[in-house]
Subunit: 237 residues, 2 copies
DNA sequence: TTGACATAAATTGTTAACAATGCAGAACTT
DNA sequence: AAGTTCTGCATTGTTAACAATTTATGTCAA
């Protein structure tokens, strides 16, 4: 029901195969199963998904247009590797857009919206108790997409989904050992602020949350990378 | 300088041909030279741009992923035709994002930013005096992209560009005879509010402006369309 | 061993032919 | 004349072969 309009631009036009490839790669990035710089060779993807090369190339083009994949001419497709500057841009954009979203929700969210958000946090709790790391990561990001979805605005939802996915890449690259996932209670706090119809505190809650995530990163230093690794290895020999 | 980072995701990966096709169609839509529902046949595009079918199809796929083009299976590509609901979504998103942008600009815009915005409005004046309708339309939309660009955030700029372009389609579909272009002085007012470092009034200025544009539309009634025309014609015979 | 160079393999980019689908017009029926 | 079916044409979708580029391998000289 809710995602009916949302899918209009996202899925209606594309063959199931193609959308499936895009979604799978999207999900894998969100769950941090696909690390930045991972090579996505056409042949491998063809075999994995059992489709022709054309479909794979179309999917990769779509992913590249969203900044998830980096298409290098004659060299192939790689999972994108955002720079520190790009990372900052993504966070600025998320702050701006998501504060707007929760402010709006504080005055307009309905029964169903609250219910789905609560259910989502519940799922996060379950995953956390089961120590299902992959699921925790996935749900942490998905929560923000869910917030956008509650606004019933497919445009905003799509933008947020893209930004959240890119954030996964950013966390994978710049995340420090600790705190790579959202602290649980913060999501609940955001919902509480929304249901109490207080735009100001809802905005504060998500701002605090996003800054918290950003501060758990190390955007100043060099990012986790193989280039350095290569240098280290060659330096050793 | 400013658009160096901006182009990273936009152009770096693509061949000049491909980007050229996308840009040209993008511009044509922005200038309202390409009406919604216009068929974009592959052959015609191949001949127009002097490229192979592959490039054309890739360009169309990219355009469709941005909601500018509607790809219909086995039927071809058409300039998108947003529904009234989509139109409302676009305006909600623009209100949210652009108010955030000008608020930010009110506290952070630099010399160069102000200069480029003033220059832009100047260009609008020139075009208006020359009665260059196409240029007026183009610059009216481009102003909002320029605002985003002043934030030096390629992510936001890209989102705004997409939304502005879709707005062109919306205006073409739902615009009433009068006032299809932004009133000149409103752009200047926005700049004034920004340079006076007043986030609140800057936000008010752009909100007023966007609502003004939206109110000049007729989102309730049926949109301008050919389906009706077809019925009329068949009814006559 | 290291480096440069040449060759071979693998991967990506492009093209062109073919298949499938949709569309328009003609012929036919009522 | 209106509606229907059928046929041919035009357009899009797909596949496979080919071309171009990069990457890996191996050889040789220093």
């Amino acid at each position: 029901m809710t995602n009916e309009a949302e899918n209009k631009l996202g899925t209606l036009r594309a063959d199931p195969d193609e959308q499936m490839i895009v979604d799978r790669i999207y999900s894998a990035v969100m769950e941090q199963k696909l690390a930045p710089r991972t090579k996505l060779s056409e042949l491998a993807l063809c075999e994995t998904f059992g489709v022709g090369r054309m479909r794979v190339r179309r999917a990769l083009l779509l992913l590249s247009s969203q900044g998830i994949v980096d298409l290098q001419s004659n060299r192939g497709a790689y999972v994108a590797c955002p720079s520190a500057d790009e990372a900052r841009e993504v966070f600025v954009a998320r702050l701006m857009i998501e504060t707007g979203i929760v402010r709006e929700l504080a005055s307009s969210i309905g029964e169903n919206g609250v219910k789905s958000l609560r259910a989502h946090v519940e799922k996060e709790d379950v995953a956390r108790k089961s120590d299902d790391r992959t699921e925790i990561i996935r749900l942490s990001g998905a929560f923000h997409v869910e917030l956008a979805r509650c606004n019933e605005n497919s445009v905003l939802t799509r933008v947020v989904r893209e930004l959240v996915t890119r954030t996964s890449l950013i966390v994978a690259l710049f995340g420090t050992n600790q705190a790579s996932t959202c602290p649980d209670d913060e999501h609940a706090s955001i919902i509480d602020a929304i249901v109490s119809r207080d735009p100001q505190s809802a905005e504060e809650a998500i701002r605090h949350h996003l800054l918290h995530v950003q501060n758990s990163l190390d955007l100043e230093q060099t990012r986790k990378a193989e280039p350095d690794l290569v240098k280290i290895l060659t330096g050793r020999m």
